[in-house]
Symmetry: C2
Subunit: 427 residues, 2 copies
Amino acid sequence: MRGAAQLHSGGARRGGRRPDARRPRQGEDPGRDAIRPDLPPEGPGGRRNQRVRTRRPDRADHRRDAAPAQSPSAGAAGGVRTPGGRGGASAREELPRQGEIDARLGARVRRLRDVGEHAWIARFVRDLSSQRRGARIVVGPGDDAAVVRPGRRALLLTTDTLIENVHFRAGWVSPAALGRRAFRVSVSDLAAMGGGPTFALLAIEAPPRLAVGHLDALVRGFRAAAGASGAALVGGNLTAGSHLAITVALLGEAPGRIVTRAGGRAGDALYVTGTIGGAGLAVRRLRAGRRGRLPDPPLRLRAGRELAPFAHAMIDVSDGLVQDVGHLCRASGVAAELEAASLPLALGCRRALGEAAPTFAATAGEDYELVVAVPPRREHLAARLSPRLGCRLSRVGRLVAGRPGVRLRDAAGRVLALPRDGFDHFA
Amino acid sequence: MRGAAQLHSGGARRGGRRPDARRPRQGEDPGRDAIRPDLPPEGPGGRRNQRVRTRRPDRADHRRDAAPAQSPSAGAAGGVRTPGGRGGASAREELPRQGEIDARLGARVRRLRDVGEHAWIARFVRDLSSQRRGARIVVGPGDDAAVVRPGRRALLLTTDTLIENVHFRAGWVSPAALGRRAFRVSVSDLAAMGGGPTFALLAIEAPPRLAVGHLDALVRGFRAAAGASGAALVGGNLTAGSHLAITVALLGEAPGRIVTRAGGRAGDALYVTGTIGGAGLAVRRLRAGRRGRLPDPPLRLRAGRELAPFAHAMIDVSDGLVQDVGHLCRASGVAAELEAASLPLALGCRRALGEAAPTFAATAGEDYELVVAVPPRREHLAARLSPRLGCRLSRVGRLVAGRPGVRLRDAAGRVLALPRDGFDHFA
């Protein structure tokens, strides 16, 4: 244990099972989901000692994921609704822009530095301990390490990080939506292998000025998203830092075949789930100081699972279609031809950018859709599967022999110049 | 995949197995192990394109850990020697203090912003791919997620974070030692359950100004430490941030009984492995701008494994003995009495602080030793085991009935006032 800051530290045996641990917690307000950076967050003075009372269905499977109709459990699991790939963020619970909250609500807000690391963790662990333990969780949060019983399948492992001012800014997204986002961004990697999550670890770096209520909401959003995907949060870590950073590690399993990004072959058709360009446009707007709403990353677990049996290769689109298809090409040793006219553009992106929409959407990133390489003899299956995926499935191009690389062509077959391949943290 | 920055992204199939991938890499200089913050780091200009060529014994078990005599494999595994709980850091490879390196070596240093995220990852993944894959690693670094085959035992999961200016400062520790430290700090949690690591994920937040050579050395240090403990680095993530932060997630297994912190009972004797106070003293000196050397966290895997079969409870000491015993007490519902005269003080701590040494050592933190609660009828076994542990084992007090809490008493039985319980990130 470092910093005694493990979410799985302290109070496991005696601290758990408080008599009031199952009292239903206050609901959120999923209806007011527009991000309004200019609105001050509600002072959580009235929410003191608000505890996480999340219940999680204990041995949920991966099957409740994409469709809104299937996610009442998400509401039951933590009161945070995750309406099918779109953020249910309440303006009330936005992350504070520093200074703003200090000026307006300073005295009323309980911050991490007021509560202290160990008190927050002890309280949180107590609340996590109130969840029923399935046969697969031997030791849950509250010790040096969690102990879980995996199934007999191979395990999938992945980790991802969201950093303030890199992946989001204060005011762009509510704490609960940020927690959901952290989970979904990571889970996208498992979907792209044809698998789903089983256990999650959550390591948080938080500034001492952070309101405790926001941290609570963040973790609650994470847990609800995990629970709705059949995964349990079994441990974590909390440490002080200059900004907010969230690192997720996921364990998962695949019910069937595991698909890598390296199996693509010349001749395969390339399909994309959902739409692209919407999240990138929102980021661009928000960066420019305009109003916007960063959509929740879509949950493509079902699509990944259904497409895996006959896909040659899959990858998720996080840094832009061109760049991520490029990764697939390099891993597979092939090139790709994409057709601009076939890209499934988000409606807002097409409206806002017109002719520039395809090149923008192909390089903007933040989509978290899946790209799937399907061999020609299986293409009829892709079409047949489509209604079962919970999202669109669009044929956007194909893999061809040649030096790894990606070309985007217009309707006349001309190669379009791209402003960039996609997002690079350092370049 | 977020930010396409996964260490397990890109180039798995085609990129691996470069013809030169097994050429022995340049050695380090484990002899010069004093940290000298005033010394400028060597410009890595001559090390351009230096690749990670670490070989890792493929199916190593947990048995090579603590004793220096047993760690030639650590050298073979990555050229980084880990001499029994003490840092083999070379002054040549110190982390740069910003400004210093800019002023002196600016033009010669390749930084992350010069190389770019994807180029660094592609190179690193290629090098990782050159390691032999055991039957337990199905898909290693180079895809959306790693795929591993766990054994049939329950899994241990833990995560920890080291943050620049919180857990270390530039110049305190070499990049390789920082990588080792990140691994060992996390693995300490598994040792405290009686287990050992099998697979590791490494998520790095790095400033664009960071020299690529330093990042390479950090990851190399991590891999070597993991390899020497029988674990494989199977994935990770790289993202830009304002400072360096390292988040580790470990999977592990326990060969036998898993010990929590919640099983302690009144009457149990409390034992501590190794010595305490040495690391805390080093931190104090370094913070004051004096010369010092932050010791490597000790590796107590063997001690944990040997002690687990008859321990009622275990915890690792990261935030100070008093605080961590306090966690054990709260989890177990008992109190603890510690004897100041029995604490196994690090020699340097006793010399530097004299009479103040026990209270300092009991609250300083950074020790990563184990505290073990042993029932009275098993105490003779602890004494008999001692030679096999690879470290001292000292009886420091006992658990008693009462409200959870920890008292430190002097030889006359008086309760000593403590400056603090230990480290809290936010308090």
